[in-house]
């Protein structure tokens, strides 16, 4: 049987992924990434605490599979953490999990897995994969509530060719039952968007320590240029934020734009939050080919967002314009817009300013 490396976290999903593959007869090995933490905070990095690592090692022992740890500290700091800092410096709200999936999990770790002689790399992601005559398709998980395909939109055909998502066909409660039946640990990693290297802290504390220059005060203005007050650095705010603006106003005001060029925070009333469109850059088309014409799609603008119906128009190789049928709130620069048709993931890219 082919060799498969399972990217393990110590949590229930990747543990069950490994168990299922082993039962299907694959030659399974576990691998875990050692990611970067701020000096002295290794114990609280959400993805790879010593506890999580001990847990994964224990699971590998129960399943009787080899287990290896791959050091990705330097590459993680150079790509993911830098990207995070640069994104905030540009006034964006970056999503480091996306670049981690692209550059770390599905490039760096995949290379290590293939170097070990593996044909496949599996993860505990809730997503599905189908092989068709003309290539691989990425689909939403059977359990729509747990679907994680959003963060996998960065995957191309080369990666899908080597990928397996053994838990994507199951419902989460089924995965728990499978884990219990096999005596595997059933703890889930928290399903939050907390970033692993923030060690459970507010991202602003991390930014203050690592990029203090980002907290340069500037003006709070309206769309029409009226100055309402002063902000303590754009990195403190997210699009759609209402609380903590420190501006007196008869109607509630929301952050509608972070302008890094002149360091102004643009605020407005609720109606100004909505937008009917966006441009996405660095778009990945899962099929490897740019769709020839505009197409209807359901678009997700955040990991947790609802689908929104839209027209998607490819622009060149790796950009796309999205026109929503109805205005969408909180379109946030730096997050991804991901295009689906039903369960099928067509592609996605980063939201431009």
């Amino acid at each position: 049987m082919p060799k498969v490396v399972v990217a393990m976290s110590g949590g229930v999903d990747s543990s069950v992924a490994a168990a299922l593959l082993k039962e299907q007869g694959y030659d399974v090995a576990g691998m875990m990434l050692r990611l970067w933490s701020e000096p002295g905070k290794a114990d609280s990095n959400r993805c790879c605490t010593p506890d999580a690592m001990a847990q994964a090692r224990r699971v590998a022992g129960i399943l009787d599979i080899p287990f290896y740890v791959v050091d990705a500290k330097d590459v993680f700091r150079e790509t993911v953490v830098e990207y995070f800092l640069e994104g905030y410096a540009r006034g964006e709200t970056p999503n480091p999990c996306l670049i981690c999936n692209r550059k770390i999990r599905w490039t760096f770790l995949l290379e290590h897995a293939l170097a070990l002689g593996a044909e496949f790399m599996a993860t505990g992601h809730y997503a599905r994969l189908r092989r068709e005559a003309d290539g691989f398709r990425l689909l939403r998980a059977a359990d729509r509530n747990k679907d994680q395909s959003y963060v996998l939109h960065v995957m191309g055909q080369h990666q899908l060719k080597h990928a397996l998502f053994p838990v994507g066909d199951y419902l989460k409660p089924e995965i728990r039952r499978i884990a219990e039946a096999r005596g595997l640990p059933t703890a889930s990693r928290r399903d939050s968007q907390d970033l692993c290297f923030l060690a459970g802290e507010d991202y602003r504390n991390f930014l203050r320590r690592n990029a203090a220059a980002m907290f340069k005060p500037g003006q709070i203005v309206t769309r029409t240029g009226k100055i309402l007050g002063e902000h303590g650095g754009l990195a403190n705010y997210t699009i759609g934020q209402r609380k903590g603006l420190g501006v007196a106003s008869p109607v509630p005001l929301y952050v509608i734009e972070k302008n890094a060029v002149n360091n102004t925070l643009v605020v407005g009333v609720r109606d100004e939050l909505g937008s009917t469109g966006l441009i996405a850059r660095e778009v990945n088309w899962v099929s490897g080919e740019v769709p020839p014409a505009p197409f209807r799609a359901e678009v997700k603008i955040r990991y947790t967002a609802q689908d929104a119906n839209a027209w998607v128009t490819p622009m060149g190789e790796n950009q796309a314009q999205v026109r929503f049928d109805a205005p969408q709130r909180d379109i946030t620069t730096g997050q991804a817009a991901v295009f689906y048709q039903g369960d099928l993931l067509i592609g996605g890219g980063l939201i431009c300013p």
């Binding site: 875990m32 740890v69 050091d71 002689g117």
Partner: protein, 382 residues
């Protein structure tokens, strides 16, 4: 799988296991008991002590059984440091920069919490300590000197006789960690001239969980486990009878078979060193080319993550180890790699191949046919 990590540990020799087994069930008594169950167990422990003493050319009363080599190092260093400070006020400890963590971490602790002063003795590029370095460092306040017999990571054998002589001529206690050495090198303590010597059974086909410390008669030593009066009051706790029996039998067999075992591994070790240095680019031998353990080959490869190389080797069916190996995947060059002056780009890429009873020339052929390719693979992943 092919096991090439005999310096990490060895399988228990079946003859050793046979000697141990009766003491789990049939002769299970407590050696301190008055009745015949106790007498039988005590007889086994004292016979083991005599056997061990014979192998080390010392008196049975100079052998303290412990739980492992690390415990022996702790007892020797802490015991001598406290005793010497009380006796003479001496509070300096000298140790080489290339010691095992059982020594270095113990000394860090004595320095940080117990007020002792440590002087780290420089080693040369092979990790060797010269007797002159030791002589120069000794002063009136030196409590004890510790230099390992042979290095676990790089295999270098220190000139223990000369270092012991340098200490003795100045009236200073000398301890050596012989945990790695005992499997292949002479352990005659009169010949070596040491005051204390640490041993651990699992490095020479005995069980894990038992070690010994040789302590020359008259050496001032504080106990480090207090309680019942076992082990001459230096190490309290009911003796681990079956394991002590195993220790002695494993050491006895090692003495009897030393030449045969050396003859089995040394040529294969030479073959590994020759081939690696000839075939693999940017490879260096670590440790001394001649004065090294006969079963021990160790290298560094520039721009290789040693942990990645071990992973590739394991997946290909070979169990080796590395000076920077870390199961949590946080590679840092070991203190030994730093002590011998290796730059980081080399020190991270270490590989240790250690041979033993199960090693055949076919194993080495197949290992050497694969290693160059895996080193290249590891370099590409860097």
């Amino acid at each position: 799988m092919i096991y090439l990590d005999y310096s990490a540990t060895t399988p228990v020799d079946s003859r050793v296991l046979d000697a141990m087994l009766p003491y789990f069930t049939e002769f299970f008594g407590n050696p301190s008991s008055v009745h015949r169950y106790g007498q039988r167990a005590e007889f086994a422990v004292e016979t083991a002590r005599e056997t061990t003493a014979r192998m080390l050319n010392c008196q049975p009363g100079e052998i303290i059984f412990t739980s492992c080599g690390s415990e022996s190092d702790n007892l020797a260093l802490r015991g001598a440091a406290y005793a010497m400070r009380e006796k003479t006020g001496a509070n300096w400890i000298l140790a080489s920069r290339a010691e095992h963590p059982a020594v270095t971490k113990t000394l860090y602790h004595l320095e940080k919490y117990e007020g002792f002063r440590i002087e780290w003795l420089e080693v040369d590029g092979h990790g060797m300590v010269s007797p002159e370095t030791v002589s120069k460092a000794i002063c009136d306040n030196t409590a004890v000197v510790s230099v390992m017999y042979a290095n676990n990571e790089i295999g270098t054998i220190n000139p223990i006789r000369d270092i012991a002589e340098a200490c003795r001529s100045r009236g200073v206690l000398f301890h050596t960690d012989a945990v790695q050495a005992a499997a292949y090198l002479p352990v005659d303590v009169q010949e070596l001239g040491v005051d204390m010597m640490s041993l651990g059974a699992h490095k020479f086909y005995g069980p894990k969980g038992v070690g010994a410390l040789y302590v020359r008669r008259g050496t001032p030593l504080f106990p480090h486990l207090t309680g019942g009066g076992q082990e001459f009051g230096l190490r309290a706790g009911t003796q681990n009878v079956s394991y002590i029996v195993g220790f002695a039998e494993a050491l006895r067999l090692t003495g009897v078979e030393r030449e045969k075992r050396t003859a089995q591994v040394a040529p294969l070790r030479d073959q590994i060193i020759g081939t690696v240095l000839e075939v693999i680019p940017k490879a260096r031998l670590t440790g001394h080319p001649v004065a090294r353990l006969p079963h021990h080959a160790s290298f560094v490869f520039e721009h290789v993550d040693g942990n990645v190389l071990l992973t590739l080797l394991d997946a290909a069916g070979f169990a080796c180890s590395s000076g920077s190996a870390c199961k949590t995947g946080t590679p840092e060059p070991s203190e030994v790699m730093n002590a011998i002056g290796l730059p980081r780009a080399w020190g991270l890429g270490s590989l240790r191949v250690t041979l033993g009873s199960g090693t055949t020339s076919e194993h080495i052929e197949s290992f050497l046919s694969l290693l160059p390719e895996l080193v290249e693979k590891a370099r590409r992943l860097k």
